[in-house]
Amino acid sequence: MHPAAHPHPDELKALAEKSRAVKLLPNADRGGPATPLLSVTGLTKHFPLARGAVVRAVDGVDFTVKKGETLGVVGESGCGKSTTARLIMQLLDQDAGEMLFDGELVGGLELPLKEYRRQAQMVFQDSYASLNPRMTIEASVAFGPQVHGLSKNNAITRARDLLAKVGLDPARFAGRYPHELSGGQRQRVNIARALALSPRLLILDESVSALDKSVEAQVLNLLLDLREAFDLTYVFISHDLNVVRFMSDRVMVMYLGEIVEIGPVETLYAAPAHPYTRALLAAMPSMDPDRRTEEAPLAGDPPNPINPPPGCRFHPRCPFAEALCCAVRPELSPVGEDGRQVACHINTPGARHSKAPPALEIIP
């Protein structure tokens, strides 16, 4: 089975207009263009293990997602990417921290959880496990709208519209079951399902990672076109640095449950500021023989979120680690002019690190 090519972007736009004209589920902008779509502060999730041990999966992260942008999230496995995604989607309850969606507290009086879930949706990694094997794909896509009060007929109509938008001919595919589709087709269904509630924020948790490279490219292009057509904002999680670069406006780098660096994709890839980001990017395979990696970019123990080291969590593997790094946890703070934030003593003016820049002069 070949995944059908998805409609032309102009066609998509027309379809999106049509869907909005029907006003099935209006999700209007409320906070104005300057308000970030999602603003996360102090988000923390610890998983207790036996005998008092604790996995610090996500440990106090702050970030914002602007309206219409794609925020890429990268990091090794176990760094807390997926836990962050599930926290944003509120599939897990955070231990601490709060989230503002378009200026309103998620789970608060203005934006109760059920309402929030119309505005934020998620596409999972495993395309098969995320579809109910006993439901036809149109029924899976129509489930969400029905939860929010659409009649069955209207929900199915909407589901078929969306299947067409993600490049699956409803006449051929709507009545099929998940096992009758290829991985790429199933992931298209999952995207359609996520779009069924007209969300404004889409969390893509390794959503293309399990696909073949050729299929992956098609789905990525579909995602880019859908973002335009539906005015979507993406949180794009992947371990594939090339894909993140292709998709994102800004990138957030995570290490052992913390953010180590966040900034615009082009400048961050060109000049990474955190030693971990540098190592991560150096480990990227390159087609250019002059840019071959000759040394192992990362040494030391692989990260273990159960007992993260004190101070800077990266210090056991960092070539620049000094006494300060073992003792004091660096704060995420602005660096340079591109809106970059880095959590490293080397980049903190006035820090007691031999490579740190001198303290800023305070202009009176």
Binding site: P133, G144, K152, N153, P170, A171, Y177
Partner: protein, 290 residues
Amino acid sequence: MSAATLPPVAASPGYWAGVLTRFSREKLAIAAGIVILLIILAAIFADVIAPADPSKASMLRRLKPLGTPGYPLGSDELGRDMLSRLIFGARLSLFMGLVPVFIAFVIGSLIGISAGFFGGRFNTLVMRTVDIFYAFPSVLLAIALSGALGAGITNSILSLTIVFIPPIARIAESVTAQVRGMDYVDAARASGAGSWLIIRAQVVGNVIGPVFVYATSLISVAMILASGLSFLGLGVKPPTPEWGLMLNTLRTAIYVQPIVAVLPGAAIFITSIAFNILSDGLRSAMEVKS
């Protein structure tokens, strides 16, 4: 979905259509199903089929062998027609095998699905209680309950139901716990669906199949246990025809008419094995791993 408003789409054969196709290849299971169907029909239409009155005794014609004119399968210790008693006996024997499993299937699934889905303390409480019942071999548990409650059909059914609830609940719990971890359940939650809607729309359909297959495998056990209770004098009371009780009252006749005396047991055996084969066939047709 009404065809009037929605254009038709190419429909795939659903899961149950696939089950039917696979089941049609299970020749042995189909044969077993036909045997069961015949027994059920015989039980329902016993009044029409049975050649004689099952309770009409005759002191002159006691313990006749097979093939005696008027008594094709011989007669019992009170001179009653064996064939008619076997046909009428199917009613209660089937009833006492099927009803407890059915009730336990409904209750056990409810308990197991809620325990598996909600987890936490509720789950611990339920599963620990189930563990206690697992500390009794099923025969012992059935006899203990029946023995304490006293003889009678209702008490037998009650005891057997209690015997089968824990194993069914345990299976339902473990399957539900697996399904609960699937991404599609998370996706449904992310759509804003509440727990009960998720259970109804997403969980039950995926859990009930394996639990049903398991429950069908218990029917044979239930029939053997139910007849066993009657055999001990705990189930049906004479002169009601029931296979277990017939076996009991004919016990001393094995020295006179051994073949006639073991006939009720053969009926239990055939029915029990037919249910087991049918259950195995269902298991492979529904692609449930044991």
